[in-house]
C-alpha cells in the first residue's frame, strides 16, 4: 500500500444525517414496489402470518392453562369424606365448623345425591344406580383453602380434621392440578417446537420471496455495484422488503389469533365456569402483538439477509 498517510480513495464526504435520508428513500421505494406486487405481498403476509399464528396461539393456550393451574394451586380444595350413615345434619355441622376456621375460605356440604352425580359423570344417574344398587355414597364436605395458607399448615390442618369425629378421610384434591400443570408444560413444549419449525418456515418464506424480488432487480443490483454501491447500500432495499414482509406477517398472525380467541372465548368461559372458579382469560395483550410484530420483523430480516448474501456474492465478479 502507498504509505498509510494518504488514502488514495478517500470516502466521499457524507453529510451527517445522510443515513436518515437513505432510509427514507429506500423505504419509500420499497413501499411503491410492494404495492406494485400487491398480490404476492399479500400472499407472503398470509404465509408468514399462519406460520406465526400457530405457535402464538399455543403460547396463549399454555399461558391460560398455567394461569388456571396457578389460580387453583394457590387455593386448593379438600374433601372431608364422612363415615357412612352419618346424618346430613352432622355434615352441615362440620361444614359450619370448617367455615369458621381461618384456614378455610368456604366449606359446603356435598349431599349423597350430588356425590352420586359427580361419581357418575359421563353416565346417567340411573346407569350408576344400576351398577351401585342404591346410592352408597355418604355425604361429604368440600372446602376451599383460604389464601396464604402454606403447604405445611395445610398438611397439619388436614391431619387434624382427619382425626375429627365422624370423619372417614380427608383428601386434598391435587391430582388434577398436577395433570393440569403437566398439560400446560406439554402444550408449552409443543409451542416451542412449533415456534422453531414454523419460525424457520417464515424465514424461508421471506427468503424466497426476497429472492424473487432480487431476481427481478438483478440488473439494478449489478449496476449499483458497478458504480460503487457498498454491500450495505445494495442490500438495504431487500432488507426493508424482508422487514416489511415479516412485520406484515406478524400483523396477520395477530389478527388470526385474535379472531380465533373471539371464536373460542364463549366455550372457554363456560368450561372454566363449570369449575366454580372465576377465571379471566388472557387474551391478545399489547406485549403479545408487539412480540409477534417484532419476531415477524426479525425473521423477515433474517430471511432477507440469507437471500441477499447469497446473491451479492454471486454478482461480485461479472
Amino acid at each position: 500500500m502507498m504509505g498509510g498517510d494518504r488514502d488514495p480513495w478517500p470516502p466521499v464526504q457524507r453529510p451527517r444525517f445522510a443515513w436518515i435520508r437513505d432510509h427514507w428513500r429506500v423505504s419509500r421505494d420499497c413501499f411503491t414496489l410492494a404495492c406494485r406486487r400487491l398480490w404476492s405481498s399479500l400472499l407472503v403476509w398470509l404465509l408468514i402470518g399462519i406460520s406465526l399464528a400457530l405457535p402464538a396461539a399455543l403460547y396463549l393456550l399454555q399461558r391460560n392453562l398455567a394461569a388456571a393451574a396457578g389460580q387453583w394451586d394457590g387455593r386448593p380444595s379438600f374433601t372431608v369424606y364422612l363415615q357412612t350413615g352419618i346424618e346430613i345434619g352432622v355434615a352441615e355441622g362440620i361444614a359450619d365448623r370448617l367455615d369458621a376456621q381461618p384456614e378455610v375460605e368456604r366449606a359446603w356440604v356435598i349431599t349423597p345425591q350430588q356425590a352420586l352425580a359427580e361419581f357418575s359423570e359421563g353416565l346417567t344417574i340411573t346407569d350408576a344406580l344400576e351398577v351401585l344398587g342404591e346410592n352408597p355414597l355418604p355425604a361429604s364436605v368440600r372446602a376451599t383453602v383460604a389464601d396464604g395458607v402454606s403447604e405445611g399448615e395445610l398438611q397439619r390442618f388436614i391431619a387434624e380434621q382427619s382425626a375429627a369425629e365422624g370423619v372417614d378421610e380427608v383428601v386434598l384434591e391435587k391430582a388434577w392440578l398436577e395433570r393440569m400443570a403437566a398439560i400446560s408444560d406439554f402444550v408449552g413444549r409443543v409451542g416451542w417446537i412449533l415456534a422453531a419449525v414454523f419460525g424457520l418456515g417464515a424465514a424461508l418464506v421471506t427468503a424466497s420471496s426476497v429472492r424473487l424480488v432480487i431476481e427481478s432487480r438483478l440488473e439494478e443490483l449489478s449496476v449499483q455495484k458497478l458504480v460503487g454501491g457498498t454491500d450495505a447500500f445494495v442490500r438495504r432495499p431487500f432488507l426493508y422488503f424482508g422487514l416489511f414482509y415479516g412485520v406484515g406477517g406478524g400483523m396477520v398472525a395477530a389478527m388470526l389469533v385474535a379472531g380465533s380467541l373471539v371464536a373460542l372465548e364463549a366455550p372457554l368461559v363456560t368450561l372454566f365456569d363449570s369449575y366454580k372458579e372465576r377465571l379471566t382469560i388472557e387474551g391478545m395483550g399489547g406485549p403479545l402483538v408487539g412480540a409477534l410484530l417484532g419476531v415477524g420483523g426479525l425473521l423477515g430480516l433474517f430471511g432477507a439477509l440469507i437471500a441477499t448474501n447469497r446473491r451479492l456474492k454471486q454478482v461480485e465478479l461479472a
Binding site: 500500500m1 488514495p8 470516502p11 440488473e219 460503487g228 457498498t230 465478479l317 461479472a318
Partner: protein
C-alpha cells in the same frame, strides 16, 4: 491521482481462453490513451480488470500505488466510487429515468438530493441531453443511450475514466464532442483510457495508442512518435 501500472498481467478464463497475455503497461496520472485492436483482442477484458469486475490470473495491477487485486472486498466500493466507466452495453437501468440513471453513482455515496440533482443535470448538459432527463432509456436512440452512459461515468468527477467503445453509436461530430469531454477530464487530472475501433479518432486525436492482438500488446505509440 490516477496512475496505473500493469506488471506482466495475464487473464486466462476457466475455458482456457487467454484474453490478455503478459501485458505490462504504465499510465501516468492525467494521461489519455486509446486501446485498440480487432474484436476479441482483449480490450474489454483490460478495462474490466481495472474495474475489478475480473481478477488477473497472473501479474499485478497497481493503481495509485495500490495493488488492486489485493484490495479487501469491503474497500472495492470506494475504489469504484472514484472511477467512471462507460460500458460497451451501456448498463442503464430501464426502469429509471435518464436523470436517475445519471445520478446513481452519486446516490450510492449518500450525497444530498439537491446536490445530486444539480450535478447530474450538469453532466447531462455536457452530453447535450438535459432536455430528455425525464425520459426512460428505452425512449432514447442508441447514441443518446450511449451519451447517458457517458454522463453517468463523469458525474462523480472520477480520477480514472474508463470507456469501452463510447462512440460506437455516435456520428463523427458527436464523437469528437465526447472525446473533447474526455480530454477536458484529462486536463483536470483524470487518467482516461478509451477502447475504440474508430481509426479516424485514433488518427486525429493525437493521443497515445495501444494496440492489442490476441491479448498481447503489439503497438504502444505516444503522440507525435
Amino acid at each position: 491521482m490516477g496512475s496505473i501500472a500493469l506488471h506482466d498481467v495475464t487473464k486466462r478464463f476457466d475455458n482456457g481462453q487467454e484474453a490478455l497475455r503478459n501485458v505490462s503497461l504504465t499510465f501516468d496520472e492525467g494521461s489519455m490513451a486509446f486501446l485498440t485492436g480487432h474484436s476479441g483482442a482483449g480490450k474489454s477484458t483490460f478495462l474490466k480488470l481495472l474495474l475489478l469486475l475480473q481478477l488477473p490470473t497472473q501479474g499485478q495491477i497497481v493503481v495509485n500505488g495500490v495493488n488492486i487485486s489485493q484490495l479487501p472486498r469491503r474497500r472495492i466500493p470506494r475504489y469504484r466510487q472514484h472511477l467512471g466507466a462507460v460500458f460497451q452495453d451501456h448498463h442503464l437501468l430501464s426502469d429509471r429515468t435518464v436523470l436517475e440513471n445519471v445520478a446513481l453513482p452519486l446516490v450510492v455515496t449518500s450525497m444530498r438530493a439537491r446536490d445530486i440533482a444539480t450535478r447530474a443535470r450538469a453532466a447531462l448538459s455536457m452530453v447535450g441531453l438535459l432536455a430528455k432527463e425525464r425520459l426512460y432509456p428505452s425512449h432514447l436512440s442508441a447514441g443518446e443511450q450511449q451519451r447517458v452512459g457517458i454522463a453517468r461515468a463523469v458525474v462523480n468527477r472520477p480520477n480514472l475514466l474508463l470507456a469501452d467503445e463510447p462512440t460506437g453509436n455516435l456520428d463523427p461530430a458527436l464523437s469528437r464532442e465526447v472525446m473533447g469531454l474526455f480530454v477536458n477530464f484529462r486536463r483536470i487530472g483524470a487518467t482516461v483510457i478509451v477502447a475504440t475501433h474508430d481509426q479516424h479518432l485514433i488518427e486525429t486525436m493525437g493521443v497515445r495508442v495501444i494496440e492489442l492482438d490476441s491479448g498481447r500488446v503489439i503497438r504502444d505509440e505516444a503522440p507525435g512518435a
